[in-house]
Symmetry: C2
Subunit: 499 residues, 2 copies
Amino acid sequence: MADNIETLGHEDIYPINKDGKEQTRAFLMKVVEILLEYIDEENDRKSKILDFKMPEELEQILDLDIPQKGLPLGQLLKDCRSTLKWQVKTGHPHYFNQLSSGLDILSLAGEWLTSAANTNMFTYEIAPVFILMENVVLKEMRKFLGFVHGDSILAPGGSLANMYALMGARHKMFPNYKKLGLKALPQLVMYTSIDSHYSAMGAAASCGLGTDNVIQIDVDEIGRMRVDKLEEAVLATKARGQVPFFVNCTCGTTVVGAFDPIIPIAELCQKYGIWLHIDAAWGGGVLLSKKHRRLMEGVERANSVTWNPHKLMGTHLQCSSIHFKQDGILLGCNQMCAEYLFQQDKHYDVSFDTGDKVPQCGRRNDIFKLWLMWRGKGNEGFEQHIDHLFAMSDYLVQRMKEMPEKFHLIQEPEMVNVLFWYIPERLRDQPDTKERNAELGRITAQLKARMMTTGSLMITYQPLRHLPNFFRNIVSNAAVKKEDIDFLLAELDRLGHDL
Amino acid sequence: MADNIETLGHEDIYPINKDGKEQTRAFLMKVVEILLEYIDEENDRKSKILDFKMPEELEQILDLDIPQKGLPLGQLLKDCRSTLKWQVKTGHPHYFNQLSSGLDILSLAGEWLTSAANTNMFTYEIAPVFILMENVVLKEMRKFLGFVHGDSILAPGGSLANMYALMGARHKMFPNYKKLGLKALPQLVMYTSIDSHYSAMGAAASCGLGTDNVIQIDVDEIGRMRVDKLEEAVLATKARGQVPFFVNCTCGTTVVGAFDPIIPIAELCQKYGIWLHIDAAWGGGVLLSKKHRRLMEGVERANSVTWNPHKLMGTHLQCSSIHFKQDGILLGCNQMCAEYLFQQDKHYDVSFDTGDKVPQCGRRNDIFKLWLMWRGKGNEGFEQHIDHLFAMSDYLVQRMKEMPEKFHLIQEPEMVNVLFWYIPERLRDQPDTKERNAELGRITAQLKARMMTTGSLMITYQPLRHLPNFFRNIVSNAAVKKEDIDFLLAELDRLGHDL
């Protein structure tokens, strides 16, 4: 049966062919074989991360067309192979490009089961086990936040989690906006650091606050929000007759990995009656480590916290969470009481139907992978994971310091973001001037292009404030070992020395 | 090696153990075996859909705790089995409960590959193949909408897709709101039918419009928006000095499956300069059928359309899309130009970086499963799929009409939503009065409880307008055959005749 699977079509397998057991199994096993080969290749340090093609070239190489008649299963298997061949291996140990990287196998197994179960998280009726799991895991996360009661939900990404926080704050402080709209309220103003994630601005635009009403607060020399400047801004808002209502305190800024000082910000929020939101989408994972959780000292004083397990914790994309210290806000804010879904006369306790807590209706199951991973690693395994990432990042910094002629470390990192310029041979005797650094900025983009075309290494870059382009290296993949850091340094030198 | 896999831990497989190839493979193969068994059981009509337990019972049965030390892989495999044992089989041919149902095997294979590739859809840099696929598939969808140019994106669910439409309309009509906020605009008013999805209200609350500024328009006897009432409401808004700006026209209402009349609504929107959004989250799939696409005649006149492949088309949860007739709106509305991600000096054409088109930052890969499915089914296969769902639904209606003593059909369906009461023996000689129907409403909830505890059948129910609870049957699973419809009817009678 499995011999001729390649010539069969979609109508020969489940669900259309109810007797398609063997054919379905044979097809899926062939898919799994392709995936296992991909995973092996990804974990093989000699393999390339990507085989880069320009968009117009790749469009020529790939056959992406939607056909009139369905293609045989054999063609679909070829499609799977070809997709993976041209895809970037985000779990490769030499991929240091994004905050999310790595391929955790427990999380992967979780995603495979999740898609076989294919349910929607809005009611206990159709997702009983997953709803209970979500309760357990989110409660565990709140424990790490020091939230004794509170309420949480998984959201589709950290940006929307931050938006849900803004909406929750608005609801708690001005419950009539839901009915009357923003025009009935005084002008609300929010505060976030200039280094914070762009989703703070995005949420303000989406929710109708207006980006002019997001005050961007200066940061200190290592990228943390300046509390004195925050207080000045709050007073200025009040002087204008507007209402300071929301401070977005970032724990783990996107580029620098800086932690805004929670405790003085919390004091200030308390003094002026402002909602304190912590965007720990990136940094939240440090809470799992006894050694590193000091970076978030005072987190229990927040009103809400965003924390993305799909970043530092290595869970699959996507897995984002939003937590509130006070219970009931999510439901109060978002509840629309659709009778077709949240019937109140069901025969079970309908407080387990969580769908009305979010502005989404359908909610993807993002919990199983995280739960399975946590079962397999335990709190200790996650702690070791976080400590390992920091240790590898420290090792990189130490190695760079041993080669100051080749690597210009931009600042001492607080987290696993390591910011640096690579210095090619011709610039090694130059002093640290604005002109040299501008040239290093140009080289950064050129070196990245060489990485992409070679396919051996990926590290992202960006400008920041007064600084021209520089590299931001991220270690967030459990696969990374000292030998990978050594490779990173050597490969930068090999690719860039003559630039 | 595979023999002792059960006693190994997460540190013995990839990515921590770089030599863990055989162990990783053995673990994942055991997971796949569990999933294949589940899929076989789901496709076995003799199996139960669910083994219902009350939340407090299920909490006792399951061990969901997060451990201090990681559990061995053998325990995780047990956890997978146990999760599936207590989960609802949403792909079972006798699960008629939700708009999304079924387990398409191509889509499943797509999800498995998606999770192995584990990337983020924000840049071509890290998702080259998937970005190109998204372009191809969304262009194909726009072809079915009759949008010659335009722009589209996949969104995390239909509710947020509708919100993105509202935000796009607001941006197009009042570009300065992004900077200044809603307080700088006149009061905007939107319109939606009383039968439309609650996400219209939700979007108005979230975006700061206020639910009081959503005018709910009456429907005709079969659930379609009344255009005369819509015009009255628009005139009343103008008389109040407010601005009518957005009509939400539903194609496929959630309960009834009704199609608001697009053409007269489009005429009215044109007359008054109002944005026409079509919420075809549920109904959009009819466009794929030459026979049924007449239900959406005039769709090309919309400014924006929501269409969820995860509903009628049977793609995995989640897969939702939003389409705009005019290009550039998504980017104009949501762009925040984060320099760390959307560097303009990359070495490729950065118009392929789509992340700045949405208020999310990270964007899950929801395209591959849909693309793979479409390759395997082709346009013809999707057309047959849609026609089959309608045919099975028609068959259900015909059979019910043959047994009017047992089944009270509430109205002739436009789509695959079949609305009915089951009539138990003691009420079969009663006239069709308000009192009898109130009693049938009570019986509906009781009969649903019996279905849940028996586990043989699932159909949802709800009240609507003046009607007490009634069943809403949905055929959206390609697995459903006439024998399953016959079973449905017989099982309702077996479970309910003595109620």
